[in-house]
C-alpha cells in the first residue's frame, strides 16, 4: 500500500482545514505557556502550502521540500522551523519518488523526529512536539502495514502522548520558564501535532 499524490493533496486540504478550525485553541494554548502565536504559525504555513497545492511537483520529495520552505518563509516561530526541519528530512528520503510506501512512514517520522531534535537541541521526554512524533513513529512501526490500523495507531498515539505528558513540567522553549506552573497544561506543540496527525490520517 502507498500514499499517492492524490491522497497527499487531500491530506493537505484536511490539515489546512484543521488548523483553521484550531486557530484559537492553539493560540490560547501557546498564550498560556508562550507568546500565543502557534495558531498563527500553523495557519500561515498551511495557507501558503494550500495556495501552491496544485503546482506542487509530482516528485513527492520535491513537493515536501516546497512545503518545508512554505514554513521557513512564513514564520520564524519555533514550531514553523521545526515543521520545516521535519518535512525537509522526509523530503530528502523521498526525493525522486512519486508516492510514499506506507511501510516507510514510521521510518520517515522517526527521521523527522531526529532531525527536529538536532535542530532544537532538546531531549526526548521534554514535553514537546518531539514526544508526539516519537509516539506516532513507534505506534506506526508496530502497527501492521494495514492503512486502517496505522490510522488508528497514529490517532491513539498523539492522544496518548498528550495524556502521558500533561502532568509533567515543560522543560523546553518559552514554556520552560513556567516550570511547575506548566504542570497540567498541554504543550501547545503537542496539541498542534495532534491536529496535524489526525487530519492527515483523516481521523
Amino acid at each position: 500500500m502507498s500514499v499517492t499524490r492524490e491522497m497527499f493533496l487531500a491530506a493537505i486540504d484536511r490539515i489546512a482545514a484543521a488548523v483553521e478550525r484550531d486557530f484559537d485553541m492553539l493560540n490560547a494554548a501557546d498564550g498560556a505557556l508562550g507568546d500565543g502565536d502557534l495558531g498563527v504559525t500553523m495557519t500561515r504555513g498551511m495557507r501558503s502550502i494550500h495556495a501552491m497545492k496544485d503546482d506542487l511537483p509530482d516528485d513527492i520529495g520535491m513537493a515536501l521540500f516546497q512545503c518545508a520552505q512554505a514554513f521557513t518563509k512564513s514564520s520564524g516561530s519555533s514550531y514553523g522551523t521545526l515543521m520545516a526541519t521535519g518535512l525537509m528530512s522526509a523530503a530528502k528520503t523521498l526525493r525522486g519518488r512519486q508516492q510514499i510506501d506506507t511501510a516507510s512512514i514510521s521510518g520517515l517520522l522517526a527521521g523527522a523526529r531526529d532531525k527536529m531534535q538536532e535542530r532544537g537541541k532538546a531531549e526526548l521526554g521534554g514535553k514537546t512536539v518531539l514526544d508526539s512524533l516519537d509516539y506516532v513513529a513507534r505506534a506506526t512501526a508496530t502497527a501492521e502495514a494495514e492503512p486502517d490500523d496505522m490510522v488508528r495507531a497514529a490517532a491513539r498515539a498523539v492522544d496518548k502522548a498528550l495524556d502521558d505528558f500533561r502532568d509533567k513540567p515543560a522543560t523546553v522553549g518559552r514554556a520552560r520558564v513556567y516550570g511547575d506552573k506548566s504542570i497540567g497544561l498541554d504543550d501547545p506543540g503537542m496539541l498542534a501535532m495532534r491536529s496535524v496527525v489526525k487530519a492527515a490520517v483523516g481521523h
Partner: protein, 332 residues
C-alpha cells in the same frame, strides 16, 4: 501603557519604513521580505560580515546597530518573535563580501533554530558562517548552566567589539574569536518596574502592582529572581551590582566598561542616579571604568526598568571598544 500605532499587524513594517526613510545614509531594506536591514554603504570587499537578528521592539537593538564599525545586516521578526530562517539567510547574503559571515545574536531557542537553519540554507551560496551567542543575563540561569542564559544588553558590547575587529580587516576566525571573548566577558542583570505591550497581543507582557518591582526579570517579561516592594535607587543598584560581581568578580587590575541601560520608559535622570552607585562599587573594587554607557542601548519598547551590563576588558577589547563606529543611534 498606551501605544501610538496604526494596525498592529503593520507595526514592524511601518517602523522599518520610517527608520529607513529617516536615515537613508545608514540603513536600507534588502531583499523582498521587508525584514532585512543592511548598511546603506556596504563594507568593502573582503571585510568579514557580521549579522544579527531577533525580535522587534528593542531599538536600537537589533536594527539600529547596523552601521560602520558595527553590524552589516540584520533580520528582524515581529515584536519579540524570531525572524524566519529565510530572512536570516537573506541578511547573511547581504552581509557577505566573500570573507564569511559571523552570526552574532542572543541565546533564544527560536532564534538559534532559525540562525542554524539559515546557515544551512546559505551553504548553497557557498557562504562560510560562524556563530557567537550572547548569554549574559545572570538572572536567567546559574553559573553552572551559563550556556542556558538569555542574551540581553551585553550584545551591544559584542556588536561594537566584533564590528571594530571586522572593520580592521581581520579574518572570520579572528573576528569570531574576539566576539566570543567579548560575549564571555559580559554579565548583565535587569530589573523591571512596569511591562510593555506587544502590539499584536494587545495586552501587557506581565502584571505588576503599582508599588512593586521584579529583580532579574527578562526583557520579554520572563520571570526574575524575586518580586517585591519597589526599593530605593541605591538599594536596587547595590543588589544588581552584588549579583553581577558575585558572578564575575573584579579586582584592582581590571579595566571594565559598564552599561546602565533603560528598558525604555525609565528616564536618563534615573539612570544617572543609579550610575553613582555603579561607579562607586566598581571603583571600590579598585577597578578602572572605561567608556561608561548610560542611556537607552537595548530596550523593550515602553517597559520601565533598567539593566546593568559589566564588560571586563583586555587590551585588545578595550582598543576595539574605543575604535570609531557610526550608526543612527550610536557614534564613537
Amino acid at each position: 501603557m498606551k501605544k501610538i500605532l496604526n494596525n498592529p499587524e503593520d507595526y514592524v513594517d511601518e517602523m522599518l519604513a520610517g527608520l529607513t526613510a529617516a536615515h537613508p545614509e545608514y540603513y536600507r531594506l534588502h531583499g523582498d521580505s521587508g525584514r532585512v536591514v543592511a548598511r546603506a554603504k556596504p563594507g568593502k570587499d573582503g571585510k568579514v560580515g557580521i549579522v544579527t537578528g531577533g525580535g522587534s521592539g528593542h531599538l536600537p537593538v537589533f536594527t539600529g546597530y547596523v552601521g560602520d564599525g558595527l553590524l552589516d545586516a540584520c533580520a528582524i521578526g515581529d515584536v519579540f518573535a524570531s525572524p524566519s530562517a529565510e530572512q536570516i539567510a537573506d541578511a547573511i547574503r547581504a552581509a557577505d563580501t566573500g570573507a564569511g559571515v559571523l552570526r552574532l545574536y542572543g541565546n533564544y531557542g527560536g532564534d538559534v533554530m532559525n540562525f542554524d537553519m539559515a546557515g544551512e540554507l546559505v551553504e548553497f551560496d557557498d557562504i562560510v558562517c560562524s556563530t557567537v551567542l550572547l548569554a549574559d543575563d545572570v538572572a536567567s540561569a546559574p553559573p553552572e548552566e551559563r550556556e542556558k542564559r538569555r542574551g540581553v544588553a551585553g550584545m551591544v558590547y559584542a556588536f561594537k567589539i566584533a564590528g571594530a575587529a571586522a572593520a580592521e580587516g581581520r579574518e572570520l576566525d579572528g573576528v569570531t574569536a574576539v566576539a566570543q571573548t567579548a560575549a564571555d566577558a559580559c554579565r548583565s542583570i535587569g530589573v523591571a518596574l512596569s511591562p510593555c505591550t506587544v502590539p499584536q497581543a494587545g495586552k501587557p507582557t506581565f502584571e505588576i502592582a503599582e508599588d512593586e518591582m521584579e529583580m532579574g526579570m527578562g526583557i520579554h517579561g520572563e520571570p526574575g529572581v524575586w518580586r517585591g516592594k519597589l526599593q530605593s535607587a541605591d538599594q536596587i543598584a547595590g543588589e544588581m551590582m552584588d549579583r553581577l560581581l558575585s558572578d564575575m568578580p573584579i579586582t584592582g587590575d581590571d579595566r571594565v566598561s559598564v552599561m546602565v541601560n533603560s528598558l525604555g520608559a525609565t528616564p536618563p535622570e534615573e539612570l544617572y542616579i543609579l550610575y553613582r552607585t555603579v561607579k562607586a562599587r566598581i571603583e571600590d573594587a579598585g577597578a578602572t571604568i572605561i567608556m561608561p554607557l548610560v542611556g537607552r542601548y537595548a530596550t523593550s519598547m515602553e517597559m520601565a526598568g533598567v539593566s546593568f551590563t559589566l564588560c571586563k576588558l583586555d587590551d585588545e577589547m578595550e582598543k576595539l571598544l574605543l575604535a570609531p563606529c557610526d550608526c543612527a543611534f550610536w557614534r564613537v
